[in-house]
């Protein structure tokens, strides 16, 4: 962090060319000729993508894309004379984030450049495409796993159980008959799993107890409407 802050401080006073420094002194911000925005916010705004994901990146675990593509300078230039409004995005370092560097090719002839650029607003933006990619993939995989598990519990498990234990026990599960929810036979399995006692069954026991819990929650929310209605 300290290293980054130092870097930011350095970037705060960029060597500007004569033309640019004139824009700055004329106070065209919030048109944003100064890199960044208000100076007070500078260090915060510059902190790049999260450090956690930097770790991944450094380890080459997720070497997806070069991070240099994750910065842009976005210049929005309003309509000027007969030129249409235009949005320019360019991959450029923060200290060069101004109209003169980003707007290429310049749509207006030389004398008008200054007037044209005065109206443009340039913003330096950062993102982390690695973060986005990892997040979306994590999200989709969790969602997929949950859906698979749900399908397994609704469709596959009853069939498996029927094959393993035969019809009789399923029918015995007294009050659950007619309940076509997944986990309907939780009571039954719970009773059975208790009679055996080994480590593997503890997992099943935990799972069954969880199913019971969900069944209870479902009853109180959807059937009896005592909570959350």
């Amino acid at each position: 962090m300290a290293r980054r802050l130092v870097k930011c401080k350095y970037a705060q006073a960029p060597p500007l060319s004569a033309v640019r420094s004139r824009y700055v002194t004329e106070g065209t911000s919030p048109a944003g000729m100064t890199p960044g925005g208000t100076p007070g916010r500078e260090p915060l705004e510059l902190v790049p993508a999260p450090r956690i994901f930097h770790l991944f990146n450094d380890n080459q675990l997720f070497d997806f894309s070069s991070n240099s593509e994750d910065v842009r300078c976005k210049c929005i230039c309003p309509p000027y004379k007969d030129h249409l409004g235009h949005i320019y995005n360019k991959n450029i370092s923060q200290k060069d984030c101004d109209c003169l560097h980003v707007v290429e090719p310049m749509p207006v002839p030389g004398p008008d450049v200054e007037a044209y650029c005065l109206r443009c607003e340039c913003k330096y933006e950062e993102r982390s495409s690695v973060t986005i990619k990892v997040t979306i993939i994590i999200y989709l995989s969790i969602l997929g796993l949950l859906l698979l598990y749900m399908v397994y519990l609704t469709l596959a498990e009853p069939i498996l159980k029927r094959r393993l234990f035969g019809h009789s026990q399923l029918i015995q599960s007294d009050e659950d008959i007619g309940d076509h929810q997944p986990f309907a036979n939780a009571h039954d399995v719970l009773a059975r799993s208790r009679s055996r006692a080994n480590v593997l069954n503890k997992v099943e026991y935990a799972q069954q107890r969880w199913k019971l819990q969900v069944q209870e929650q479902r009853k109180s929310v959807f059937d009896r409407h005592v909570v959350l209605s």
Binding site: L84, T131, L147, Q213
Partner: protein, 812 residues
């Protein structure tokens, strides 16, 4: 008569206790198990595992100790609570003080104990750090995924499917005309047909939009129904109730957290009229509850855990709105029940860490924590307070209207057949929303984007329809635009916004309370923002065309930039949010943190206050309180005053014609007697007296503790049979030597129960219940025990005096 019982039907009650053996914490598991055995004999008992469990689970209270030690140590499960019960704050707090005193006194003995005491003192802050990190990361996950999935309804990015529209066009240069277009981003019609123009492409896009919306919402409701029914709704009413001392096991558990996070994204991206802010508070509280298990101090004490949950709620709002201070105030004003200064500082820290974490994830790529962050510093004129107050009135009216109709609809859902089809309900509402939303571009976009666009001040750089004014470029200089005449784009936008307003107003009533995670903040803000923007543009045009009117002439001359429609949208949003939730301070702070403009505090305050007045005049309670009452949670509102002249003896049980109070004597009852009392009654606690004749009070013992202790003694202690005498005194009573050995239960006796006399006015009793968080209070007359008042008795009494049906509003 003893304690007010849970009036759940017997089967449900048993199930409830079964459920109490949840994954919430190990200690409770054994407790639930042993209770199950004793209360419900016909249920498959879990007691066979119990011996094994308690030995590995005992931890500090090891199972190898002698019987005497065992009696000194608290039994596992003693001092815990059942599902759907209320905790006793006084007892929990005194237990924590005892624990703390012990650690402090021990810390002088050895270095190890000193380290232990330091780590114990530090653990609260460490916990806050962890909660902040987890809540911030989850908020980042939700933000990024929801943004992406929302855009998935319209198209897909070819450069990488994981990019949303904005990030897909990260580097492309475009003109204002097709601001949203870039070669990498393909709408569905472009992908399938190869072109994006024409009626058929429109219909295809329409179809895809509706299909995705239906798919998302269907997945959400199925996941909620299948894995964690408690994940539905906004969660704030329940959190409020839990923080006031109620126990809903599993409500803040692992599965609820996972399912709520996952389905929240689905629900938000399906385009339903709901927001993610309320559910984020629930998510943060789940994080807090789960992380509490890492620390003994918080795992074992329900009161301490509620302090952590208060702070977690602050962290939740902090990431939801990017407003750390607003979050702390929200927790203080709206959610928390017991909020000491220490919790305030901890909330502050948790909110800070959470906001920092979210900021470093940078979910929107704009270095902001929310999508609709705005920044403008236009001054406002004093006369503008009139439209701001009008907006406040609108907000109050809308809030009251919304609460009434939403509660009516939810009651219908609760009591009629409608509640039997949650999946179908979500499906139908999504279908209607999606079909109506697509044709109007202001409802098609996500609600956060809509709010962001409405808040935005039209600069020269904006090219949306809302900013299509008649421009005169020659006179403009830089960024400072004067008020201008509205162009055709603005007029189109106006009626589209009006349609969007009508749709949002009505569809939100049916959306809030569906069985998907659904927050209320964003839709109410959207309603207010639309109304505010409409009014703002109207005032702006009025001032433009009539700048010679006396009211405008002083400050709004021609060519001046005096009206900012974006500010009106902001004030409107605050007013509507205030009307619905009845927040004031935290609301203004949240709005102010969203905008970063100190100069708008007065308009926001004026609007929030007006809307609260108007809404309070129509209906007394905010939406969360209304939902608490609808569900009948035992929540004792701390904000309202009790102003009736009743006495404690009017409220206490037993009533005049009832059988006398069930009591336990301190040294003359046998195990069998006590067990028969337990079996015959359903009260959750019994007063202990010196003798039935004198009725002099000794203390109070809880049913659950009694059951667990007797059960344990029967199994582990030699010579305890049905005829053994139970005694609560320090020394065993003198008995003939032939009698069986006696059972000492002094350790579970609460020696300092709260008592009032029968002539105490109820307003004092209610105050005691509120401020101390009592669960029950004993009533004496001339020093003799006369009766008992429980929290539920107080709630019933209040309901009765307010002319409400006392039975319908209690938890049963």
């Amino acid at each position: 008569m003893g304690l007010e019982a849970l009036a759940m039907d017997q089967k449900g009650y048993r199930r409830g206790s079964f459920q109490s053996s949840t994954s919430d914490e190990d200690m409770l598991e054994i407790a639930g198990a042993s209770l199950d055995f004793s209360v419900a004999d016909d249920d498959p008992p879990l007691y066979r595992e119990m011996g094994g469990f308690s030995s590995y689970n005992g931890g500090g209270m090891n199972g190898t100790s002698t019987i005497m030690d065992f009696l000194e140590e608290p039994l596992p499960g003693v001092g815990t609570y059942e599902d759907f019960n209320t905790i006793d704050w006084v007892r929990e707090k005194s237990r924590d003080r005892d624990r703390h005193r012990e650690i402090t006194s021990r810390s002088k003995e050895s270095t190890w104990a000193l380290i232990h005491s330091v780590s114990d003192a530090f653990s609260g802050w460490l916990l806050m750090l962890l909660i902040g990190l987890l809540a911030g990361s989850l908020a980042g996950l939700i933000d990024i995924s929801a943004h992406w999935m929302t855009d998935l309804k319209e198209g897909v990015c070819l450069a990488g499917f994981w990019f949303n529209h904005e990030h897909c066009c990260w580097k492309s240069n475009t003109t204002f005309m097709d601001r949203d277009k870039c070669p990498e981003w393909m709408s569905w019609s472009e992908l399938i047909l190869g072109h994006g123009e024409g009626a058929f492409a429109y219909i295809l896009n329409y179809f895809m939009y509706v299909t995705w919306a239906l798919l998302f919402s269907l997945l959400a409701v199925l996941l909620v129904k299948g894995f964690a029914p408690y994940a539905c709704g906004s969660g704030i009413p329940e959190i409020k109730t839990i923080l006031s001392g109620f126990i809903i096991r599993g409500y803040l558990g692992k599965w609820t957290l996972i399912i709520k996070t996952i389905t929240l994204v689905l629900a938000v991206s399906s385009g339903l009229s709901l927001g993610k802010e309320g559910p984020l508070v629930h998510v943060a509280c789940c994080c807090g509850n789960i992380l509490c298990h890492l620390f003994t101090k918080y795992r074992k004490n329900e009161a301490k855990r509620r302090e952590v949950l208060s702070a977690a709620a602050a962290a939740g709002v902090s990431v939801a709105f990017g407003a750390p201070i607003g979050g702390v105030l929200f927790s203080l004003e709206e959610v928390s029940y017991y909020f000491p200064l220490k919790t305030l500082w901890r909330s502050f820290f948790a909110a800070l860490v959470a906001a920092f974490t979210l900021r470093s994830i940078n979910p929107f790529g704009n270095s902001r924590l929310v999508l609709f962050y705005v920044e403008f510093h236009m001054p406002w004129h004093l006369l503008e307070l009139v439209p701001f107050i009008i907006l406040g009135i609108f907000g109050g009216l809308w809030g009251a209207f919304f609460i009434r109709s939403n509660i009516a609809w939810c009651r219908r859902r609760k009591t009629t057949k409608l509640g039997k089809y949650p999946v179908l309900e979500v499906f139908v509402v999504t279908a209607i929303t999606a079909v109506l939303a697509f044709p109007n571009e202001y409802t098609r976009m996500s609600t956060s984007e809509l709010i962001s666009e409405l808040f935005n001040d039209c600069g020269i750089l904006d090219s949306s329809k809302l900013c299509e004014y008649v421009n005169d470029f020659n006179s403009t200089k830089g960024d400072d635009l004067p008020d201008r005449a509205a162009g055709p784009g603005v007029y189109t936008a106006m009626w589209q916004l009006a349609l969007a307003l009508i749709m949002k107003v009505f569809i939100t009533i049916f959306t809030f309370g569906m069985k998907v995670p659904s927050g209320l903040f964003i839709p109410s803000m959207a309603v207010g923002a639309i109304a505010g923007r409409l009014l703002g543009v109207a005032v702006e045009q009025l001032a433009y065309y009539h700048h010679d009117w006396p009211i405008f002439s002083g400050w709004c001359s021609q060519g001046a930039d005096c009206i900012t429609p974006g500010l009106y949208a902001m004030v409107g949003a605050a007013a509507c949010l205030g009307g619905v939730t009845r927040m004031t301070v935290s609301l203004v702070v949240i709005m102010f943190e969203l905008t970063g403009g100190l100069e708008y505090i007065v308009p926001l305050m004026a609007a929030a206050m007006t809307s609260k007045w108007v809404a309070d005049a129509i209906g007394r309670e905010g939406i969360y309180d209304a939902h608490i009452r609808l569900n009948g949670y035992p929540f004792l509102e701390a904000k309202e005053e009790f102003s009736h002249k009743t006495l404690a003896m009017d409220v206490m049980r037993p009533r005049r014609n009832d059988p006398p109070l069930t009591v336990i004597t301190q040294d003359s009852m046998t195990v069998e007697d006590v067990e028969s009392i337990i079996n015959e009654t359903t009260y959750s606690g019994y007063p202990v007296v010196v003798s039935r004749e004198s009725q002099r009070l000794v203390g109070f013992v809880l049913r659950r503790d009694l059951i667990i202790s007797i059960e344990n003694a029967r199994k582990k202690q030699d010579g305890i049979v049905s005829t053994s005498i139970i005694y609560f005194t320090d020394h065993s009573p003198p008995l003939p030597p032939s009698s069986p050995s006696m059972l000492k239960l002094r350790s579970i006796l609460d020696l300092s129960p709260f008592t009032v006399t029968d002539q105490t006015p109820m307003e004092i009793v209610v105050d005691i219940f509120r401020k101390l968080g009592l669960r029950q209070c004993l009533v004496t007359h001339n020093g003799k025990l006369l009766g008992i008042i429980t929290k539920k008795d107080v709630l019933k009494h209040i309901a009765q005096l307010a002319n409400q049906d006392p039975d319908s509003i209690l938890f049963n």
